[in-house]
């Protein structure tokens, strides 16, 4: 059983991001003391894969697309006990992330299960999983929180807008993963981190996986501008005794023509 988990590095929101701004020159986000770590839903995808493997067996390979320095995120995956990892190394604008991931998975002989995070905290498009499914010709399942069962009779618990549902899946599949009480990532121990440090990371060159001569490799959108919308709310505090606060709140609510 071959499990692939697609992960990436993103800005860590839990470290201070108070001075979040966009650099007008580069159109990139600029944060002082920016820290990067594995994106939140990707880490949860690793946790779900690991829970499944530890119960049922199989091998997990973590995949990431990026430049050489992004292999930190794969070290983190090793600290979370993946079996193998691959950096798909890019050197400039090439194929889409989903195309590269699909090519790498095919390179390794195909997958039983491919997991991605539900969405990323930076771009937040949620497109990589569905697009990857399409490139691999596999069904896509959104927002799973837990997987059980065997090859060709998998049971996936998925979050829906109103609760959960249980799906039976009898073919290899690609899924996005969302958070639940059952899949909170376990923090790596010191020993895990040490082991991860020594782990071997495979490297595949993006240019070899998806030669530029192929058709349909162009990026179909271009960013023309990024900016922070002006929603400067300055918070008015109502102080005083509770009944004074309540009175001020009631006046404020009425000033919005709410509450008759």
């Amino acid at each position: 059983m071959r499990l692939f988990v697609c992960i990436k590095q993103a800005l860590d929101w839990n470290s201070s991001t108070k001075d979040f701004r966009i650099d007008p020159a580069t159109q990139q986000v600029a944060v002082s003391f920016a820290r990067h770590r594995i994106d939140q839903f990707d880490e949860i995808a690793l946790q779900v894969a690991r829970q499944y493997r530890d119960r049922t067996g199989g091998e997990i390979r973590a995949l990431t697309v990026g430049a050489e320095e992004t292999d930190d995120v794969l070290r983190h995956a090793h600290a979370m006990n993946v079996d193998q990892s691959t950096l798909i190394e890019t050197t400039g604008q090439q194929a889409s992330t989903a195309q590269l991931l699909a090519a790498a998975i095919t390179h390794y002989g195909g997958a039983s299960i491919v997991l991605c995070g539900r969405t990323s905290s930076d771009n937040g498009t949620g497109q990589t999983g569905p697009a990857l499914a399409e490139h691999l010709g596999l069904p896509f399942i959104a927002n799973i929180v837990h997987i059980e069962g065997d090859e060709h009779a998998w049971l996936c618990r998925c979050e829906t807008p109103t609760g959960y549902e249980l799906l039976k899946v009898n073919s290899p599949f690609v899924a996005s993963v969302t958070n639940a009480a059952s899949n909170v990532p376990r923090a790596p121990t010191m020993k895990d981190v040490m082991r991860a440090h020594r782990a071997k990371i495979d490297v595949l060159a993006a240019a070899t996986l998806c030669p530029a001569s192929g058709s349909g490799l162009a990026q179909n959108t271009r960013v023309t501008r990024r900016y922070i919308p002006e929603t400067s709310r300055s918070c008015r505090r109502f102080d005083g005794a509770p009944h004074e606060q309540a009175n001020a709140l009631a006046l404020y609510i009425r000033s919005l023509s709410i509450g008759a």
């Binding site: 979040f20 937040g124 807008p161 349909g216 960013v223 900016y227 919308p229």
Partner: protein, 323 residues
């Protein structure tokens, strides 16, 4: 410019209105060529008429079961037949998985969670979408013949309706529903407690409670307040995870996106994932015991207080004036 909106069986009437408002906003002045494919049992609504859309009905013969794969095939066929320049879907769970797949199949550009359009001086249509959980916006140019955009809920609800004299017309489209794929079978679904009170997405007022309520009982006070304000009750994920309230009440990145006239955050700290779903609210009141809580940074009005004291006091203040 030909614009095709596809309504899935999960798109309720309000969503179809939003798709139509988005289509009108994208259409060049006075030259709307708007098409709407209904794949569910949708009734005619205001949006379609205002947009003067050509409407195609293709209700699912296998009523009940929604197969994303079947919808994907239909969307692809509709693109082949109608050849639109812009295709719109709702940015809900279903739309967010259909659109990227369709974009791969049709070699289209994809814009996820589009919340606005901009026209450049040369008349090109650009796409605005939130990034970093709504902290910033980016403007995208499409370089493909077809652009597929998922429309972020509540983004086009207020956009000015154009007064098209044309009414919508209903036409047929020769597409057969494919048989659903057998790879995936739905075994069971559970909806812990149904949706409560008025519809969260469309409420003018939302009273939202978080872990600070301390227990499920805290929602009784919030429901009373919501009732007085004719509003809906929302929640943070922490409260949903604790089992205090239904998942359908969750606001945020992994819940519903809302933009009411007034959002009252009670015992909610203001985590980025929560803010992502409510920062577009017109007015925000924060009630929290911790004066350092990040939620105050997003609120218009803040009260540092215990909700158990302030909510009952507020309810009686509001009652006083109406008496």
């Amino acid at each position: 410019m030909k614009i095709l909106a596809i309504a899935t069986p999960l798109d309720h009437s309000g969503r179809i209105d939003e798709l139509m408002h988005a289509a009108c906003a994208a259409a060049p002045e006075g030259a709307a060529d708007i098409h709407l494919l209904l794949t569910g049992e949708h009734a005619a609504n205001d949006g379609m008429c205002a947009a003067g859309a050509r409407v195609y009905r293709l209700p699912n013969p296998m009523s009940g079961a929604i197969s994303p794969d079947a919808l994907l095939d239909i969307a692809q066929r509709a693109c082949e037949i109608l050849d639109p320049a812009l295709l719109l879907l709702s940015a809900d769970t279903l739309g967010l998985q259909l659109a990227p797949r369709l974009a791969v199949r049709t070699q289209a550009a994809y814009v996820s969670g589009c919340c606005g359009f901009e026209r450049t001086a040369s008349g090109r249509l650009d796409f605005v979408r939130p990034i970093y959980g709504g902290r910033a916006l980016e403007v995208l140019e499409s370089t493909a013949a077809l652009t597929i955009a998922t429309i972020k809920p509540k983004s086009f609800a207020d956009s000015a309706r154009r007064d098209y004299t044309a009414n919508s017309t209903v036409e047929t489209l020769a597409i057969a529903w494919p048989s659903p794929s057998s790879a995936i079978t739905r075994m069971a679904s559970d909806t812990p407690h149904g949706r409560e009170g008025p519809d969260l997405e469309n409420a003018r007022v939302i009273v939202s409670g978080g872990r600070g309520l301390g227990n499920a009982g805290g929602y009784a006070e919030l429901r009373r307040l919501a009732h007085v304000l004719d509003g809906a009750v929302g929640a943070s994920r922490a409260a949903v995870d604790a089992g205090w309230i239904a998942a359908s009440s969750q606001v945020g990145q992994t819940g519903t996106s809302v933009a009411p006239e007034l959002y009252i955050a009670v015992g909610i700290s203001g985590a980025v994932q929560h803010i992502a779903g409510m920062s577009a609210s017109r007015n925000i009141i924060a009630i929290n015991t911790d004066e350092e809580a990040p939620i105050f940074g997003f609120a218009n009005v803040g009260v540092v207080a215990d909700y158990r004291v302030i909510i009952p006091a507020l309810i009686s203040e509001l009652a006083k004036k109406t008496a």
